[in-house]
Symmetry: C2
Subunit: 211 residues, 2 copies
Amino acid sequence: MGERGIPPAVISRLPRYYRFLGELIDRKVERISSRELSLQMHLTASQIRQDLNHFGGFGQQGYGYNAKYLHTEIGKILGLDRSYKVIVVGAGRLGKALADYVLYEKRGYMIVAMFDKDPAVIGQKSGRGIAAQDVASLARYLEENEVDIAALTLPSEGALEVMPILLEGGIRGIWNFSHTVFPNSGSVAVQNVHLSESLMELTYRMNHLSI
Amino acid sequence: MGERGIPPAVISRLPRYYRFLGELIDRKVERISSRELSLQMHLTASQIRQDLNHFGGFGQQGYGYNAKYLHTEIGKILGLDRSYKVIVVGAGRLGKALADYVLYEKRGYMIVAMFDKDPAVIGQKSGRGIAAQDVASLARYLEENEVDIAALTLPSEGALEVMPILLEGGIRGIWNFSHTVFPNSGSVAVQNVHLSESLMELTYRMNHLSI
């Protein structure tokens, strides 16, 4: 449970609402009913109402939701009304791809630096021109620059080594692609993204399709 | 709920058990108690027992679990006792990185081809040498080759266009990185991985750290 008892599943759905409402706004749609929203979101209308009631409702009976207002408010709840400085630790192919992907997404996330310990990788640039710096300089970098989020795209051993430096350096969010599971702690939020595990889950589902 | 009423959360944890047991085996550990397992997995010992009881238990009272046996059995449940042919549709930086990442992971997932519609991208190779083919040839490729899984690393519009071709071509699993949410259907399993949404969820958590 999160703030005011908000279930994690509801929080996980907020970015989908946010994205979909953004698409509606791009298509000049002003209002949407919870039924229409539910069809697009693959949820029931009652789930939608319950989800949004966690944050005070936003809807007017019979009127549906104002897309722009709901988009703005969900954006605020998600913390998207400000920008975030992001570093990527681990400049292998995944790290470089991620750096460019985040830049491409342009939602107030700024990739400010990338680090690696491999001398063969240090100095290499991502497609969008972010050069990998020596991870030995990470602590000093964090002293001199304010950074909000670190994306960890390196093996588990490296992630464990680098974690104390990140915490000491004031990082508040870890976007964790390493295999090490870091639990959320009081001072830092962790979002674990386990790509290879999601692939295993897919094969489980493929083998149990008759469910 | 999945097979025999297995909750999705339990299924999501299976890859973590599998990975961790694999690490134990690499370290020549033969047996592990549910308490030790729970410390490593950040779960309670009772959760571990409940999780594994869904699949018949595997443990002997007082003896703990046999790491190798449990690893093998969970591997079978996940469908990892066979191999899978994977294509990547969308050969941008994320697609190429993913192709190499899956190859690197080497768990019976074989990247057999990559497709794109952009003439500037067709012919380009991933770091490990998988060349992007013209997506116009996808239908024929699927007729001539058996493919299990398609990773979708392309924009939503493209994903919607390519989906009927994939279903027609006998694809059984979709590893979906596009922004379109495909629900699981009877004939195809879908694993949605929404990178930018996980980043938004991270910022939500960062802004509600006092929870």
